[in-house]
């Protein structure tokens, strides 16, 4: 089991493909745009290019040979480096979550890429294999998962006297371990996206607004074709003069963009599936490129439920799991349970997947005095904007008095935002859970366990002291660190919060 392994040989091809992709701009410039050019610097440029490519190819092959890894019984040992040899040890206990990304390239050759994330800062925090065979990735995932169950036995053994509340969970854990690790644990599928869901979802993302930048670039490219600006303007103006052509163009564009939005959503979120067994949560998504993500339930640091105004209208919400390890590059973010869940289902799913999380819908509102306080806080944005408007007094749509109108609209908008934020704000301390909801337009409900909050902070500024309120802030492990603040809650609640946090050692397991 413990022999040294290299990456799949296709990893070299993958790196070559990436190299070609990255040098594409140079190729176009040196060999296509300046095709017939005989100037010396182009020639030198080409020589430099050939040398660089040769070096890169050699280094790709060489580093493929030098990158070796083994999975022993406690940790991954990774050896790498062409000139500087590095040896990394990543213990399985530090691995927070595992994600697999299968791009089209990978699907073509029936391989995948795998990433093991730890909660540690820096580049060396992840163990990533760019190309790995499906069976090898299964094996690695199992080694990590198998080890974790043993780690739990160990922690059980060290601490015999823990809270009775924790008992039931541990009994099940012991049962788990009696099973051979290789045996698949039973997986429940909690959610599978249907076509209808995705269709609905494609409207909430407002992805058809992508059109605006596309139109902009289209316009500028048309302009490039007709270097004389007056020509373009006159063409556009004559088009726009006939209203029905304009209307036709606009409807056509909207239809196309909606279609594009639907396709995009299908590609991105199609085949979305959330499942879990007793210990882990699995999320897979994507039609062309597939991404799979798994996390140990105990390692979920916090849960966030967000609702944008559009989603609120349609009764949808996004549930996000906060993990201490990063979630990879932004385009393949997979820490989110389906982003377009019906609200009721979202709540149910949390209690289903994470039985140790309790979500309550009964939460406390802010006292009225907090609203007055929020109204009193000067809005710097408004003050600065009004100052600038007053100074420049721009004439907009032929309106000389535009400056104070804009200022008034801005003020109204800010007041409305503050009021909706006040109305959205809720908080509750529920045994060892904390739930905070905030947000003016997009509301966010944050739920975490006391033992997962790594730090708290209570602040009171001058105004808050006069009103007898304070702000609380929690900190959770995540990449980047998750700070969550709730402003202007009454002092009694703050005191309760402090006491609640200081009793955290009751639920904490130590090893």
């Amino acid at each position: 089991m413990n022999e040294m392994r290299r990456q799949h040989p296709l990893a070299m091809l993958w790196s070559l493909w990436k190299l070609v992709k990255n040098s594409f701009a140079f190729i176009v410039f040196l060999f296509i745009l300046r095709h017939g050019s005989a100037s010396t610097w182009i020639m030198y440029g080409r020589i430099v290019f050939y040398v660089a490519i040769a070096f890169s190819v050699i280094s790709i092959i060489w580093s493929w040979f030098t990158l070796r890894y083994t999975a022993d019984d406690k940790a991954f040992q990774i050896y790498s480096g062409v000139f500087n040899r590095t040896r990394r040890t990543i213990p399985y206990t530090k691995i927070q979550n595992v994600s697999r990304h299968t791009s089209l390239f990978h699907r073509l050759f029936r391989v995948t890429s795998i990433r093991f994330e730890t909660g540690i800062k820096g580049d060396d925090a992840t163990f990533q294999l760019q190309v790995v065979s499906l069976s090898e990735s299964e094996r690695l995932e199992k080694v990590v998962a198998g080890h974790k169950s043993e780690a739990n036995v160990a922690s059980d053994a060290v601490e015999p006297n823990e809270e009775p509340v924790m008992r039931p969970e541990h009994v099940t854990l012991e049962e788990d371990i009696q099973l051979p690790v290789k045996e698949e644990l039973e997986r429940n599928v909690h959610y599978k996206s249907t076509r209808k869901d995705i269709f609905k979802a494609s409207f909430t993302s407002l992805s058809f607004l992508v059109l605006i930048p596309i139109l902009g670039s289209l316009y500028s490219s048309i302009k490039d074709f007709f270097p004389d600006e007056k020509v373009t303007e006159s063409i556009l103006l004559t088009w726009l003069d006939t209203w029905w052509i304009t209307a036709l163009i606009i409807t056509g564009l909207i239809a196309v963009s909606i279609m594009l939005g639907i396709v995009r959503t299908f590609v991105k979120y199609g085949d979305f599936q959330i499942s879990s067994d007793r210990k882990r949560i699995y999320i897979t998504k994507g039609m062309l490129e597939q991404t799979a993500f798994s996390i140990l339930k105990e390692r979920v640091q916090a849960v966030k439920i967000t609702q944008s105004p559009m989603k609120r209208l349609l009764g949808l919400a996004e549930v996000e799991l906060t993990t201490a390890g990063g979630v990879g590059e932004s385009e393949q973010e997979v820490n989110s349970l389906y982003p377009f869940l019906p609200v009721k289902q979202a709540y149910d799913m949390i209690s289903e997947i994470l039985p140790s999380y309790q979500v309550t819908q009964e939460m406390q509102k802010l006292p009225r005095k907090s609203l007055w306080l929020r109204m009193l806080i000067p809005s710097w944005v408004w003050i600065i904007a009004t100052g600038l408007l007053f100074y420049f007094k721009p004439v907009i749509l032929g309106q000389n008095q535009a400056w104070w109108m804009i200022s008034a609209i801005l003020l109204l908008w800010i007041v409305i935002c503050r009021i909706t934020d006040f109305l959205h704000t809720r908080y509750v301390l529920n045994q060892n859970f904390i739930q905070l909801r905030t947000g003016a337009l997009t509301s966010t409900l944050y739920i975490s366990k006391r033992e997962k909050v790594i730090e708290v902070q209570i602040t009171r500024n001058l105004l808050q002291r006069w009103f007898g309120v304070a702000s609380i802030q929690t900190v959770n492990r995540a990449k980047p660190v998750l700070h969550h603040t709730l402003n202007d809650i009454p002092l009694e609640a703050v005191e309760a919060f402090q006491l609640w946090y200081m009793e955290r050692s009751q639920n904490v397991q130590t090893r």
């Binding site: 730090e455 001058l462 492990r477 700070h483 402090q498 397991q509 130590t510």
Partner: protein
């Protein structure tokens, strides 16, 4: 259930006031010298009018700020700085206008360091910084023996490992 201390009570060294004052004098002094040089250059070379206005405005604000940083802030800061460390929590409380109270579980402390710059050395003081997984916190000025003891104490309390890590 053990007794839970809800607000920290330990103080910094009173010398902190002097140290803050000296460092404020140094930093503001440098800033004002630079401004003065710019003003001299402005009047000798006759730069554009708005530069002069800007410079005088910045100078006025800097002088006010210097007064605040040298004469008012150090004693206020000292008066409102409290800390405490017990087996379970490190607590920091500071700030006169905006009061801040931080509670950091010992189990989440990752590192503790004592630092000493030239000013602190002159008064035999140390600052203690505590790093957690999320951030870093500094207790600015403690007498040597207190600082070293606190450092060792935090290090020994922080040895408890929570399962989560």
């Amino acid at each position: 259930m053990q007794y839970i201390q809800s607000t920290p009570e330990q103080r910094l060294s009173p010398n902190a006031i002097t140290i803050w004052r000296i460092s404020a004098i140094i930093s503001n002094g440098i800033g004002l010298i630079v401004l003065a040089a710019l003003l001299v250059l402005d009047s000798t070379y006759g730069w554009m009018a708005w530069i002069g206005w800007l410079l005088w405005g910045v100078t006025a604000i800097s002088v006010l700020y210097a007064v605040w940083e040298i004469f008012i802030r150090p004693s206020l800061l000292y008066k409102h700085w409290y800390y405490d460390a017990n087996e379970e929590f490190l607590q920091l409380k500071h700030g006169a206008l905006k009061k801040v109270h931080q509670i950091i579980p010992m189990a989440k402390v990752q590192s503790v360091t004592t630092n000493q710059g030239p000013l602190l050395r002159k008064y035999g003081l140390y600052s203690v910084s505590v790093g957690t997984m999320g951030s870093s916190h500094t207790i600015p000025a403690l007498p040597e023996e207190v600082a070293l003891e606190l450092r060792n104490q935090i290090a020994s309390y922080a040895r408890i490992n929570e399962v989560d890590e």
